[in-house]
């Protein structure tokens, strides 16, 4: 575990963040119809083993406070509206992260009339985190790389 965290630190340093870059990013999560696996693992990223917050990333309560909109699930017809409302409520610049294979449009299971258009046709995806579900380590790694993306 600690070996991994050291490795993450190295990745972060190797990207040589200019001193003016943000040291903190807020993440607003929207479940657009997941199986709850991605939620469990995203929750695990904030547990004492992974502790994402110490790297300057945190889950925030409102899209108004968020820099990253992180989406799980294949986007159901009933969640398409709330998802876009949350996106429009965010200040710019903003990033969109697709967490898990469903949000990335891979191997989606469902009945076509119940699903809206795939996420990448609705919003510009900046961060892609594959997996079913992605492990907490993978989620942390992709989000830490995003710290270098913004700016």
């Amino acid at each position: 575990m600690f070996v991994l965290l050291r490795q993450l630190e190295r990745i972060r340093r190797s990207q040589r963040l200019p001193s003016g870059d943000p040291r903190w990013l807020g993440i607003r999560h929207v479940d657009a119809g997941s199986c709850n696996g991605c939620e469990h693992e995203l929750g695990a990223v904030t547990n004492p083993y992974h502790d994402l917050q110490r790297h300057g990333l945190d889950i925030v309560a409102s899209p108004r406070h968020a820099d990253i909109l992180l989406i799980t699930g294949p986007v159901t017809t009933r969640m398409a509206g709330p998802l876009l409302t949350a996106y429009r409520a965010m200040p710019e610049p903003r990033l969109v992260a697709a967490l898990g294979d469903c949000a990335l449009g891979c191997n989606i299971l469902g009945h076509a009339p119940e699903l809206a258009a795939p996420l990448d046709l609705q919003l510009p995806i900046d961060i892609r985190i594959p997996g079913c579900p992605p492990t907490p380590d993978a989620i942390a790694q992709h989000l830490l790389a995003a710290l270098a993306l913004d700016g």
Binding site: H29, N36, G37, E39, N47, P74, M79, H111, L115, P136
Partner: protein
Amino acid sequence: MTTIEPIEPAAWRATIERALASGERFAGAWATERGSGLGWRALLVGEGGTRALSCNAPGGAIDTIADLTPAADWDEREAHDLYGLRFAGHEPMRALATHTNDPAQWMTPVHGDGVHQVAVGPIHAGVIESGHFRLHVVGERILAMDPRLFYKHRGLERASEGLSPEQALPYLQRACAACAVANTVAYAQAVEDALGLRPDRELRVTRTVLLELERVYNHLHDIGAICAGVGFAPGSMAFAALKDRAQQAIAAAFGHRFLFGTIAIGTGAAALDATAADTARASLRELRTEFAAAWRELEFTGSFQARLGGVGVLEAQDALRFGAVGPAARAAGVPEDVRSHSPQLAYDGFAPAMLPQPAGPAGDVGARLRLRAVELDASFDLLDERLAHPLARGVALAGGTANTGSVATTGGTGGGRFGAGRVESARGATACVVELTGGIVERVHLRTGSYANWPALTHATAGNLLPDFPLINKSFELCYACVDR
């Protein structure tokens, strides 16, 4: 073999009424669609086992049974919204899966001086599944709560139709990650029931171990969630870490943190050799020691304990009336657990874990919390015993009686087979039913422990303080994905 009995539409109500009077309980209902005709089926559970009743719905209508057993309320509303089935006497028929903009279509009318509404969701403040709650309050007192779910409805049952049972398995698994094992075992049991297959001892033992591992990480998670519900960070962090430890051990043994891909139909899909079983057993022993220490900390934290008593009370009679299952029902003093009668699994001599008198059954948040701790001990005991030996894949063998033709008598398509499976998930009794025609899934329906418990949670919320709603919600810790499918 689960029988399915055809009932004349005119006799539907009277038949259900008679069954309930003789001690059978409602365990789910589902609509079917054959050509232009709609059908309606119900699953009943009694001392003698499980049986299904079936009837046609002439003109798309059938008598309601929701007044006889409120446990059927959501099932009828779902069939109305998703299949267009009408229920005579179910008034008002509030929308469940259909999301209309008119609040009168789905909300309880609550009027009076100072009554106002608090709307929560579908997007919540933390990392939580999507769902909407409309709380009717006076001051801080909740008068009533209307949950509006199905935001996550993916149509998994419809999507499974026309597939082979094996092809449909991933759809059932993806209904919910946290209940993946329970849901797929219930499904596999249903298909095996329909095909007349019986799991051998190895398959029964391996499935039992997987189910209990799923329960262990879920119960650890749920205890942490209750801590989070009152803002007790040390408890929530300690149990989040324990849950992660459990999932790490699970991934080390079976290759996936949610045990995806460990259940197949008619055979096993997971095994452990002696060394791997030994490693898993040692990890679980260590985890159990740390769980005991963390639990003791919770028990002696007065500020935490003071928040749990008398909150979100579910009384035994209401648990029975609303068809509550699992820890929610047992904490209310209803000793129901599918594991007590699971001949397709290896729960020999199982007795439901109940709270010791005089501590329970209070049916409140504290009782639901303590019950999970008691159940964790029972699960750790069972796993320790089972993992003393290697786990083999096992197989389900022909030996049961295939239900050939049983569906044909009611549906009229010929050659159909029916099967049902019931499993105790971390949230309670989960039932799955399948109707196969020519080896193809014609209908599959999954009714999870979460689905069964939402009406009870709604009832237990009324009368409490608004700030306690998240705590009450967490003490049931129901999945939305499992309900919405």
